[in-house]
Point group: C2
Chain length 472, copies 2
Amino acid sequence: MKNRPLRLFAFDIVAPAHLTAGSWRADGDEGHRYTDLEYWKGVARMLEEAGFDGIFFADTVGYHDVYQQRPDWALRDAAQFPVNDPLLLVSGMAAVTEHLGFGVTCSLTYEQPYLLARRFSTLDHLTRGRVGWNIVTSYSESAARNLGLERQLDHDERYALAEEYMEVVYKLWERSWQADAVVRDTAAATYVEPSRVHPIGHRGRYFSVPGFALCEPSPQRTPVLFQAGASSRGVAFAARHAEAVFINAVSTAQARRGVDRIRKAAMEAGRDPYDIKVIVLLTVIVAPTDEEAEAAHEAHLRHVSVEGALARFGGWTGLDLSAWDLDTPLKSMKTRGVQSLIDMFATAGPERAWTVRDIARFLGIGGTGSIVVGSPRTVAAELRRWRDEADIDGVNLSYATKPGSWRRFIDLALPELRRQGIVSPTRATGQAVTLREKLFGPGARHTAETHPATGHRATHHTPAVAAGRAGY
Amino acid sequence: MKNRPLRLFAFDIVAPAHLTAGSWRADGDEGHRYTDLEYWKGVARMLEEAGFDGIFFADTVGYHDVYQQRPDWALRDAAQFPVNDPLLLVSGMAAVTEHLGFGVTCSLTYEQPYLLARRFSTLDHLTRGRVGWNIVTSYSESAARNLGLERQLDHDERYALAEEYMEVVYKLWERSWQADAVVRDTAAATYVEPSRVHPIGHRGRYFSVPGFALCEPSPQRTPVLFQAGASSRGVAFAARHAEAVFINAVSTAQARRGVDRIRKAAMEAGRDPYDIKVIVLLTVIVAPTDEEAEAAHEAHLRHVSVEGALARFGGWTGLDLSAWDLDTPLKSMKTRGVQSLIDMFATAGPERAWTVRDIARFLGIGGTGSIVVGSPRTVAAELRRWRDEADIDGVNLSYATKPGSWRRFIDLALPELRRQGIVSPTRATGQAVTLREKLFGPGARHTAETHPATGHRATHHTPAVAAGRAGY
């Protein structure tokens, strides 16, 4: 599927800084305004005017305390911390936009499915169908401790719980309320026709939910489902449930392996391989010329906090690299987990002996995603290469400084990308559509026929609804 | 404390109808727009322009299924159902206002304190200190079942848990982060100074939270705390923790007994009796003349769904009145719980033999709160009487139809109330203040000296902060 336009999402977290270690130190960076609704309204308007498909929010309810076995560097570098709740920001940003989509990361570990279903239904109503859920099944040790859990569930059990969790929310979103349940018949004094609202009668290993959903069907019913798991179980889960998958990669070759694996797993799960959109994490540093962009890159590297990068790395991987000198080559380190790092970085450009410092510098801007640096034409060529070599459907744009990196991308790179058709030449105007329609085309308001949510919807809906995606 | 101006709050739920059974059937009622952010933006702007202090949202995650032992009438009459999540609406309404406060009902039964603390800190940031939490300790049986709880905790244990819960959130909001923890020192590469962020080390009977809070201090730190419990344990809890209490009463005499009880309990808990603001639930039906207002009242009564009222009543009290004919006098009913009803209604005006139908009609508009019907002058006289006889500090305005009841209150009654000083003659303009300052005056950003949250704040804060309410 070459030549298709890439979808564009901005990627952030409700914190002073996200993936770039030290971004808050750059001149003009507004990361510290993460608590300020006026700031987020401005970001929402900027992205909508530029025709971005949406903004995605990462989230965590823990903090990085693996590096040096303490959280000090996560605090000093504001490494995804302090971190506010992204769900609560959505209606504020929706209030000033009509088209922009919102993807929100939410762990299914901390909340009963009955309440999480209500939260997303509420947001899907308020945004008129512009909401997606990035399903997270894992959590940090620090989060687990503060939530009264003495230990994490083991990996396999976590996915067994996640499977049942999805079954419950599908039943609540798709099965519980018929499309024609709300009649609002004043003469008959009937707002909801009771015979059209169904208890889901769920009793499983982890959850018991006998009753019916608290919310009437929202525009999309099930929010667009995103996932980012890279383990075998994670890919199997995504192949079944995800409608879009986030990947990080240090090269197009590494990305392509991940993409092929996901598309193959989707087929094995009975779905069209392109029913899962793959969105790659990228950070773009663009300037009028390649030289100026390289200079900007160097300037950003000077802000990178090595410790901030290694604090993030520790939190993400569980590996504490503080025991080694920064110039230690990875290959000399005999520690569990390091081999997978070596394998990963082996594809990240020219062969070299990666050291701890190299990793920190690589991760320091945009985390485990790749960086694209150059003039508008260079950026366009690079994004075209990513699309064609890695077979991706969209880009999740991180930043070296915010909102400056997005601003420059919009002003400098986007016109060229649109001109070349790498991003859709026209931006959405007129009647707003749902986030699912943005990804899958007009009329695709609800999950596709082959998606596991859809079977729950079909059980008792009117034929017109069961047969197609129109109406709700 | 006579002659003080009453605070004004609007009272609603994110559902088609709240306390008035059948309000959605009235001409021009917009209750069905509860899913629509544009509707709520309009309500927010209307209340702010009129100078309301805030809007309060009730909430429930269950449905009324006691009446006839099924939920059918709750569905037919949209009796506080379907019900969306009010927390997720706040930033959308805050995005179009500067002064309006937001009180949100949230049960502490379903969520870990670590996460609830983050939700309110996030909202307090986004609203610049305009948020309050209505603490709910109870829940419906239908909610408990769908949340995987086989039974409710017993009453006493619920309050023991609630006490510990409050201790945890106070530590997170007040103790964990010093006022000077965020330094944002680019030269020193330090955003948060680690030595000024403190693990709370909480290990109790119900909760274990060793770590520190996820959020930096918000403008109010602890949101304004509201409570509505009427049992002995409920009053004791409110006396310790609440900064404002909601009451419902069928008469000023009944209200006064409740108010005296709360103020006395506050004193016994070492607080000033007026450190707890008492807000009474009222529904006002106003028209240019008393006759027109009476006619409007009669018109509303024609919409009242008797079954919708009894469905709500069943959910609130656990009493299923469907077994009795509508004309059965209460006094003839030998059922547990009925005596307290008889006692309550005994003060609701002229002595009469209350029947099931009378109760439904009384509750049918504005629930267990009283109704005030009349011309602007009559309404002013009545609100003055409520204030002086019942010693209340504010009014929580429900509606017979929405937003029409509020609209008419604003257009007709409010000018007269302001003229007479029953409501503050001027509305807030200029620099916005926090919700706590609206209730307790300039500078009262944080909990008062005698409030249990304050002790946690004082433990390590800088003297300037510990000594007064200024700064944070």
